[in-house]
């Protein structure tokens, strides 16, 4: 009798946990919606991907519109990395590298990212391949 009660309690706990996880996933997806639709589309169809150096990269040859979009994005990211690097007293490259680790981690299944060997990979359901120097 006691055993079944414990089992039921665990069942309820994990149900609450699953519910909370679902809520946070939905919240996370909503949070990520700050992207420009063209940028989001390029990510979704694998035209662009996350590089290990922290910047956006083109996967193969792309239209001049995408090229312009990537170039603008890279400049904006550089500003963010530069600010953080100054605040932390580290080089921009180092801050950008940490950014790359995070950006690759943040990719969702189907998006492209650069593996430590430099090749483009499509994010699967599992963890992405990160540089061994990532913290």
């Amino acid at each position: 009798m006691e055993h079944t009660e414990i089992k039921r309690k665990f069942g309820l706990k994990s149900k609450i946990f699953m519910g909370l996880t679902a809520v946070s996933v939905i919240a996370g997806a909503a949070y990520a919606q700050g992207r420009d639709p063209a940028y989001q589309a390029a990510r979704d169809n694998g035209a662009v991907g996350e590089q290990t150096d922290g910047y956006l990269g083109m996967v193969g040859n792309q239209s001049s519109a995408i090229e312009a979009m990537v170039s603008k994005n890279r400049a904006l990211r550089r500003q963010v990395y530069t600010r953080t690097a100054k605040a932390q007293g580290i080089s921009v490259e180092r801050a950008a590298f940490f950014g790359g680790c995070k950006n690759i981690e943040r990719t969702v299944p189907g998006e492209k990212y650069q593996a430590p060997d430099g090749s483009w990979k499509t994010r699967g359901s599992g963890a992405p391949q990160l540089d061994p120097s990532c913290p």
């Binding site: 940028y39 904006l76 963010v80 605040a87 932390q88 801050a95 940490f98 950014g99 680790c101 913290p135």
Partner: protein, 75 residues
């Protein structure tokens, strides 16, 4: 094995030297079976720099992560 025959009223007792030593050995093991911890001659050096460096690294990466989340539109 060396042994000694002892004649006692028609009975013969055989005492071996080996058995004597073996019993002494067993007794010695039982008596000395406590753990001995000896301090090494050289001082023990624990390098804490690795941990501190790792903590700094995590702090820097965390700062970058926060900057990314604040500018989620371009990341």
């Amino acid at each position: 094995m060396k042994y000694r025959k002892i004649e006692m009223g028609g009975k013969t007792l055989i005492r071996t030297k080996g058995l004597k030593w073996a019993l002494t050995g067993v007794a010695a093991i039982y008596l000395s079976s406590c753990v001995n911890v000896a301090a090494p001659d050289e001082p023990i050096v624990i390098n804490l720099n690795i941990r501190i460096e790792q903590e700094i690294l995590i702090k820097q990466a965390k700062a970058v992560e926060e900057a990314i989340e604040e500018n989620a539109g371009i990341f």
